[in-house]
């Protein structure tokens, strides 16, 4: 939380050359893991994250099964080589917490009552971390769930906003997260206009709080368009080509 180093230069550019409202480059590939029922690989700036969905399938252990709905289980995990200093592969308290908020961010979008007595497992593996990995993970997991054909009310898109050098900026990167003043990750369902995840680390006054929240939601809407395109690409991209052949 040092505020001595400038994170925005005289031209209004951030450490990675972005403007205040610009998101990092985002690429999503759908269906990258053969064995999984649904999967997605996201590159969110330097983040490289895999999400795989298995299910709906039988619940083990059996006593966890719910008679009226499906059980959603999530695991967020960082590989030991994903960070600057090696990360112990055992789940940390941070990972346990993120797994929980991630599940709670995704669950509102899923029609779990359609799959009673079953379980859906969502595995998110961070291969390379670059700040905002929970948002990127939720974004990828949501695409993977759609890819698995799970009945959904909406797609969950996630994006953070924050404060650096006293200014509200969109999509905080690793340096900005460590040296900036505030980080607010948000997950949002664009069609239902509902927030499914909201966290904040750092100090914001009244006006900044509102501004930051609105800015994060705007970022989520940008992310959503990329999610939609990635899914369209997989499911309708080939069809468009076929039409051309005919």
């Amino acid at each position: 939380m040092t505020q001595t180093k400038s994170l925005i230069d005289e031209n209004g550019k951030r450490t990675d050359g972005r403007t205040e409202t610009e998101l990092r480059e985002i690429k999503i590939n759908v269906g990258v893991i053969k064995n999984a029922d649904g999967s997605a690989f996201i590159e969110f700036g330097m983040n490289k994250i895999l999400a795989a969905v298995y299910g709906p399938r039988e619940v083990h252990p059996k006593h966890m099964a719910q008679p009226d709905r499906c059980v959603l289980r999530c695991r967020y995990h960082m590989t030991p080589f994903s960070t600057d200093t090696r990360k112990n592969p055992a789940p940390s308290r941070r990972e346990v917490e993120i797994s929980k908020v991630m599940r709670e961010a995704l669950e509102p979008a899923l029609m779990l009552q359609d799959y009673p007595r079953a379980a859906i497992d969502v595995y998110v593996e961070v291969l390379q971390a670059d700040g905002g990995s929970r948002c990127a993970g939720i974004t990828a997991a949501s695409v993977a769930l759609a890819d698995a054909g799970i009945n959904m009310r909406d797609i969950v898109a996630a994006c953070a906003a924050g404060k650096i050098n006293g200014k509200i900026v969109t999509d905080i990167n690793d340096t900005e997260d460590k040296e900036g003043e505030a980080d607010m990750p948000v997950a949002y369902m664009p069609h239902l206009d509902q927030v499914t995840l909201l966290q904040l680390d750092g100090i914001l006054d009244d006006k900044q709080f509102s501004e930051c929240l609105d800015e994060a939601v705007r970022g989520c809407k940008v992310v959503y368009e990329i999610q939609r395109k990635a899914l369209m690409q997989k499911y309708f991209g080939e069809e468009t080509e076929m039409k051309e052949e005919q």
């Binding site: 308290r93 929980k100 908020v101 509902q194 995840l197 100090i203």
Partner: protein
Amino acid sequence: MWDSLSKGKRLDGRNLDDLRPMEIEMGLIKKANGSARVRLGNSEVVAGVKVETGEPFEGLENKGALILSAEVLPTASPHIEPGPPDEETVELARVVDRGIRESEMLDLNKLVLVTGEIVYVIFVDCSVINADGNLFDATSYAAVASLVNSKLPVFEIRDGKVVDTGEKQNSPITTLPVSITAVRIGDSILLDPTAEEEACMDARITITTNSDNNFAAVQKGSTGTFTLEQLKQIAASAKTKGEEVRNKIKELMKSGQ
């Protein structure tokens, strides 16, 4: 409950934005460097501060180390079993920790003995002894109060060794973070939920403010959602209600506890 909420009243007679009666007792554990017991309705938490010296965290070589833990003791309810902390308890500890850390309640820069080598290590351990909802706030108030109550030993380096001089110093406290937790049940937003209300909740959110009445930390929980309007409304009540709780803690500080 639905029936009652539609009339703007809660099952225990409170209005939607009323907090339960709160009691704070400080300094009850003499063996700790600081301690506090908080009762928020029937939820009850004891927190204790212990101070040691040790190596600083990696990347934070010029700061003292703050380590916060929370445990829901098996005494707290019939549903708790002893064992390693579950997901909810891990979240509890991390949310309480976040409020204290992000508001920079303790000036950790003042807790360094040899930069990069030896620093003060402040342990704040919280034990929930009875659980009746809103453990986030009860635990947070207990942790904050125990730090307010704490006196740190004065360590010195003599011949390369850490020596306890036997003297005491006040903890370097800069601000008082206060968390306010709200839950949504249907369209109603309830502050300081009981266990019964938490069992019915659609979504939960905890917002921490500091002494300047700025926001320092937020955590949304549970599987429901909030609209932007609801979030902004809760943020506003977190400020007003947070200030009330803060004043209560300040009064206790003045009364010399």
